[in-house]
């Protein structure tokens, strides 16, 4: 039986999964760096070697921002279609998806009847509402990114961050410090601002329960909590929120090649 590999080359992280008969068998994640192609090739070669496979045994589907950079891919698909399919791996009855990655955020509505995308919305080129915004803010507050969400949730109060621009928001954070706001309050305000922005974008296309939150930022508990506050209902997170794009790509490859 043919094995399918999905590779999601995002702006910050590259994710790769090995799938056979609809089941994920192996996966890897690594920072994308500036050399998408090299990282993609390395992950692909490593996955083949560890699973005793040859290139001819597999079908490689690429997705993500760098999907066109990997020349060994057999086919490619956008991350919007891939996330829609990948979230269905974990939640077959998913209605909507919010994906917040390193460089962009997306909201996707899925047809319950067909499982296909019926509408989507993406942020524009601005970094506000993306993982990059959180990274810049965590750096400004001198907090490791993996502890940033937990810090925000320690506060009962959220400082008001009015700027939607990453650069201006950074200045606003400094002025909040000068006015005596605590680190926790500011962190909470930053997370609320990203949740408000993404929820606003998502509501415009009619997202609703059951909504799955994926992408690297889904690992941040504060963004999940504040998204739920903004949307007014529960947000689900898959077991591997960073892998839904790669899983989706592999599932699409399998579906396209199974007849």
């Amino acid at each position: 039986m043919k094995t399918f590999i999905g590779i999601d080359i995002g702006s910050l992280a590259t994710k790769i999964v090995l799938l056979s008969d609809g089941k994920m068998l192996d996966h890897r994640t690594e920072r994308s760096t500036y050399d998408f192609k090299r990282i993609g090739h390395n992950l692909f070669d490593d996955l083949l070697e560890k699973n005793n496979l040859n290139k001819d045994d597999v079908f490689l589907m690429s997705t993500g921002y760098g999907r066109n950079t990997i020349d060994i891919a057999d086919d490619r698909v956008t991350e919007i279609t891939a996330h829609a399919k990948g979230t269905q791996y974990f939640f077959p009855d998913v209605h909507s998806v919010i994906d917040i990655g390193g460089q962009d955020s997306k909201a996707i509505v899925i047809s319950k009847k067909t499982g296909n995308v019926v509408d989507f919305q993406m942020n524009d080129k601005c970094a506000a509402g993306t993982g990059r915004f959180l990274e810049v803010m965590a750096h400004a507050l001198e907090v490791p990114i993996d502890q940033f969400g937990a810090l925000a949730l320690r506060s009962n109060k959220s400082a008001s961050i009015s700027s939607t621009c990453t650069v201006f928001a950074e200045s606003e954070v400094i002025s909040l410090f000068a006015r005596g706001a605590s680190k926790e309050e500011i962190a909470s305000g930053i997370h609320r601002s990203i949740a408000r922005r993404v929820a606003g974008m998502s509501k415009r296309i009619g997202v609703g329960p059951k909504l799955v939150f994926c992408g690297g930022v889904a690992l941040n508990p504060a963004v999940k909590k504040y998204l739920e506050d903004e949307l007014g209902y529960e947000v689900e997170i898959p077991e591997f929120p960073q892998l839904t794009g790669a899983i989706g790509a592999a599932l699409i490859a399998e579906a396209n090649n199974s007849h």
């Binding site: 921002y65 919007i80 962009d104 296909n116 995308v117 509408d119 989507f120 080129k125």
Partner: protein
Amino acid sequence: MDDSNLLSDFTFFLKEKKQEGIKIIAYLAHDNIPEELIDAAGFFPLRLIFGGSDELMDASHDYLPPSTCAFAQSCIGLFSIKPNYYKFLELVDYIIVSNHCVSDICVSEIISKYFNIPRLNFYVSYTKNENSLKYFKLELQDFRNQLEATLGKKISDEDIHNSILKFNNFKKKLLEINELETTGSEKLKLIHKSMLFGPDFLHDLENLIQKFKDTPQPVSTTSKDVLLTGCSIFINDNLIDLIEEGGGNIVFFDTWIGNHYYSQIIEDNHIDIEKDPLDLLVLKFKNNIYSDHSVPDFLKQKVSFIQKYSENYKKNKGRKLGVINHIIKFCDHISLMSSFLKDSLQEKGIQVLNLERDYSRANRGQLSTRIEAYLEMMK
């Protein structure tokens, strides 16, 4: 789409016009400027239909805030730095200051004031009731007076009639582009060249259209057919490449650079040499259903047109038609109506991509993703 040859040919063409003593009258891509009057005066109407880049937008920021329409920014940038292929802008004698939108007013005023280009004024009403049609005729008369003052003699009614006929015939030929069997980029090349060179291009246009008819260029059956609405794709803009690289093909340009322009034909039975030719131009303004000046019915008519076109397309071609609503960033009247347009069409089962963008290189990847995801959605 590489438009360097087109711009180079146009520079040569415009220099020849100038050597013949013909004055060049520039204006923003505006759907109600009476180019027939300009032509009747013996001047050349130069429509500014050029796309932008980061450099052009940046060059405009001494005059405009960055939150101004990206097309408006580019127009200022063109006059500010006049890049290589746009040296012909040095040949412009007059700029028409008009009011198609807020950006049109600002940009035409700025071009006149800061780049020392004398102005001609032509202001249009936003409605089409009895009073506004009377007003439009007064503006036409005033514009005619300005042209005559520049020319130093009267423009005869006969010359205006002849120009109306000339543009009418030209547009009738252009209408045939809609039915050609070829890619959207080939159609757009023809439209761009026609709208830039004007009726002087008619003979070549006839030959090219005939060539396409004799040897059709079938588009790949795997490509997705798309109607483009909203903002036009200007010359030197790569949007059509992104659409075609993503697997789409624009089959109909429901934009000012496209059907909105060449469908503005005055029917032959209205053309009477004994009548005031300005009344014919008023009639053209009145019948311009696509114009954003058709308040309050513009959106309703647009939705109805796209719905009918889409239904007929499916019936005649047996293929689904997508709709890309192209929104140039900070183009207020296209972006403000985008949600209404999308919702109205989606209620009728027509999937719409609201594609907002400016001319910066930085968003090329995101644009491709949005276009490709939309085309995947059409599967």
